[in-house]
Symmetry: C2
Subunit: 227 residues, 2 copies
């Protein structure tokens, strides 16, 4: 590998880390907008999302350009994985923006109850995202593999919240619009967990050459015992 | 381009069309399971989804292999677009499987009302998917561009259905679980519309070299006037 190519691959990696930091900020801002009932913050999320959209296109262009210069299979794999990670991070921005739209709806009505579970869920998916990106940077497929089973906890929390909110509606149908908005936020957080899981699977593939997507329960059984 | 490379790119294209046909079958099967209240059909959807998962991995492996042989920027673009289309088709399979799980829940309870809007929505997104794939095969970016604004209609139908189902819950809270299941199906169909839109955008990028993702309203205004 030439020194220049090496440098360009490093730049690509840095761009992904920049994207990850925007994605994290977008989600944190959306959740603060919810908890602090602050419309100003909710509007700000769209800006971070725009930056992510632009960066995704940059990463794609840079990757296509690099693909023509990279002779080794490992480099090709790195570049295609970078494109996928970039896409997942851009989607995290989309989810954060969708959350902020629901927050604006919710802020227009009296608060149903203190939001405790949603911020906890947001913390869980942010930790997954961080761990997956950290595993990418430190070339640590084992760390990445440990992220994957944590998605089950996020899924379980989403199901529990959906059940609770359903019973809130049953108790008082006037709660419908607020409960549906909260359910949608929970669902969006659950999808951010999916994106973190995708990234973790990509990192395992990148450094171990094993494609573990779609393995489902087998893998989570494997890693849960070690978790 | 060598004749062998040309042949391998054709094979890749064929594999995508196979995936498209499985994705279509998966969605059609899930919708028939809903309308005909047939659990057997709902269980069958997971099989098509498994085939899609396997094909996505095959397409990725074949693509990485081809990337090292393809010297031209247009070939590189074709291959990376193929990987993205394959990912979107695999996700359509996931959505169909998620729909079939909701269908099983719904089939266990009395029918709330005849399902008319959901099959109509499924037809809309299947037509979008077909048109996008057709544009890919016939190298027709204009046809692909016309798919994109149709997503707005699907979004509008999803919003309308969600509103209707919300008022059903308000009228009778005992309808909650069935209404939520139907809302989730509507949301999944809306996401299949998003995947068809992604594919259409990729096809425009492939044949025109313009990246039109994230252009949003500007583009839909542009193409709607011609539609």
């Amino acid at each position: 590998m030439t020194q220049q190519l090496q440098q360009e691959l490093e730049d690509l990696k840095k761009k992904l880390l920049t994207m990850a930091s925007y994605a994290e900020t977008a989600l944190n801002t959306a959740m603060r907008a919810l908890v602090e009932r602050d419309d100003e913050l909710a509007y700000r999320v769209a800006n971070e999302d725009d930056l992510l959209d632009d960066l995704e296109i940059e990463v794609d262009e840079q990757s296509i350009n690099l693909l023509s210069k990279a002779p080794l299979a490992t480099d090709l794999r790195f570049i295609t994985v970078a494109m996928k990670i970039s896409h997942d991070l851009e989607r995290v921005g989309d989810e954060a923006t969708a959350i902020s739209r629901r927050v604006l709806e919710l802020n227009g009505e009296p608060q149903l109850k203190p939001y405790l579970d949603l911020p906890r869920m947001a913390d869980m998916v942010l930790q997954m995202l961080n761990a997956a990106l950290d595993a990418f940077v430190s070339r640590n497929p084992t760390q990445a593999a440990h992220v994957i089973p944590r998605d089950k906890q996020v899924d379980a929390l989403n199901k529990q919240l959906t059940r609770e909110l359903s019973s809130f509606i049953a108790e008082n149908p006037a709660n419908i619009s607020r409960c549906l908005a909260l359910m949608m936020i929970s669902k969006r957080l659950e999808r951010i967990g999916d994106h973190a899981t995708n990234i973790a699977e990509e990192v395992v593939y990148l450094y171990e050459g094993r494609d573990i997507r779609h393995l489902g329960k087998d893998l989570s059984a494997l890693t849960q015992s070690k978790a």
